[in-house]
């Protein structure tokens, strides 16, 4: 298994190590529920250096990205900031989701998922050839996430930053982005491994608790964020994955990969929505859902520490009503469909 530079720290500090997409990562440091609550109430720190960082070079990066991504990078040219977008193939199906960062002067960086790193590396390089753009896959990068209501306070003690959501700043080779996967105010810090280690140790010394991948999953699900590989795969298109909002068709002249396929397909036969249940159990990915006139399937399901119940995302026929049924062990139980952002909706 591959290891991040923080592997020793995790192993020596109670990290329960598991194989995540070929990387040895901490699933928790004792209690995923305590770690989750720590992020919602205070602040937590995550090692997400297994994710993939790509830097680009060349004078035609904007053209390259206008073609590569369905969301429009022109939106972020005015300042140094980040944009979320899926990555599509020419059939309009989803290869991954990612964030593209405008570092300034029309230079860009992309951070994408871990499991798709090799796929993306090959894909970016292939598309970039047509635009004379060089792709630098920064395999030794450090990515640390600091998330929670106190994140700003702790970050501020180390860096003089004042960032709006999705904006970024670079200090001395360290990129700080006000982005995150938890639904809390938070930051993602990208730099080299040596500097990353210094920063990690600094924040840990301040008493900030490390948070594992299990809590990362319950946090993102409460916020309604998709997970590639679960809520969307290469068999899905954006309109049935709650990603219609990331597809920017406003510029007729811009042709991006997957555009013509998206214009052709049946965009409204299925939807990705949220569900919750009061049953004493957890409906998990793969569970079938049924209702009058249609069916669906759970794509992600977990127990929510914030709401004390089963929540999740599901892909259902568009004619879904307010409630549906599913089998939990041998019992038929009732579930409620809802908006995907549970933090807002179930408050």
């Amino acid at each position: 298994m591959k290891k991040t530079y923080l592997n020793e720290f995790h192993a020596n500090n109670g990290g329960q190590m598991v194989d995540f997409a070929g990387w040895e990562m901490p699933v928790n440091y004792g209690s995923q529920i305590s770690e989750h609550k720590e992020v919602r109430e205070n602040v937590g720190i995550f090692d997400v250096s297994h994710m993939a960082v790509f830097d680009f070079a060349g004078s035609r990066q904007v053209e390259f990205l206008e073609h590569l991504l369905p969301n429009d990078v022109n939106k972020i040219l005015g300042s140094t900031r980040a944009l979320y977008s899926p990555l599509l193939n020419d059939k309009g199906m989803i290869l991954d989701d990612l964030i593209v960062y405008h570092l300034g002067d029309e230079n860009f960086r992309i951070i994408s998922n871990c499991g798709t790193r090799e796929q993306n590396n090959a894909w970016f390089k292939k598309v970039a050839l047509n635009f004379d753009v060089a792709v630098d896959f920064k395999e030794e990068a450090s990515i640390i996430a600091l998330q929670g209501p106190k994140a700003k306070h702790y970050l501020g003690e180390m860096f003089d930053v004042d960032l709006e959501p999705f904006h970024i700043q670079t200090h001395d080779g360290v990129m700080i982005a006000r982005t995150g996967y938890t639904g809390e105010v938070g930051f993602e810090i990208i730099c080299n491994a040596a500097r990353g280690l210094e920063l990690w140790d600094y924040f840990i010394d301040k008493g900030i608790k490390p948070v594992g991948l299990a809590a990362r999953d319950t946090l993102r699900l409460e916020a309604g964020f998709n997970l590639y590989g679960s809520d969307m795969t290469i068999e899905n298109h954006p309109y049935e994955s709650n990603l219609g909002w990331t597809i920017d068709m406003s510029n007729d002249v811009r042709d991006f990969i997957g555009k013509s396929a998206l214009l052709d397909l049946q965009s409204d036969s299925k939807k990705l929505v949220g569900f919750h249940t009061d049953a004493r159990g957890v409906l998990r990915a793969g569970t079938e859902i049924y209702f009058d006139g249609g069916t669906g399937i759970v794509t992600s399901g977990t127990w929510s520490p914030t709401f004390g119940k089963n929540i999740g995302l599901c892909r259902v026929d568009s004619n879904y009503p307010d409630t549906g049924n599913a089998k939990l062990r041998d019992k038929e139980i009732n579930l409620h469909f809802c908006e995907t952002n549970f933090l807002k909706y179930l408050k």
């Binding site: 699933v27 995923q32 159990g281 957890v282 062990r329």
Partner: protein, 128 residues
Amino acid sequence: MADIPDNLKFLESHEWAREEADGSVTVGISDHAQGLLGDIVFVELPEVGSEVNKQDDVAVVESVKAASDVYTPLSGEVLEVNEMLADKPEVINSSPYEDGWFFKIKPNNIEELSELLDNEAYQELSED
């Protein structure tokens, strides 16, 4: 890691059995099992009064991660279940051998107790 009390017997599937002074047997899951499961959020317990047979799946323990069947180490009648687990399933994680007990049986064949693994044998198996 809680120390395993030495008056317990085990199933390979990580359930423990403790014979009480009144002849009943208390059943729970081991510290090793709760560690593997992670934070427990739901428990389904057998019905009081029901008859169970050794190694029947009689309960379910569900963590955030996954649900798992719980098997009875002995045959007999279910005398009592731990009501606290309905509201505080996390006590299984923090006190697997004491407060986190699942149910008590009135055994109908006490010989079955000797068929179970002792402390040492269970530890060897679970340390693999």
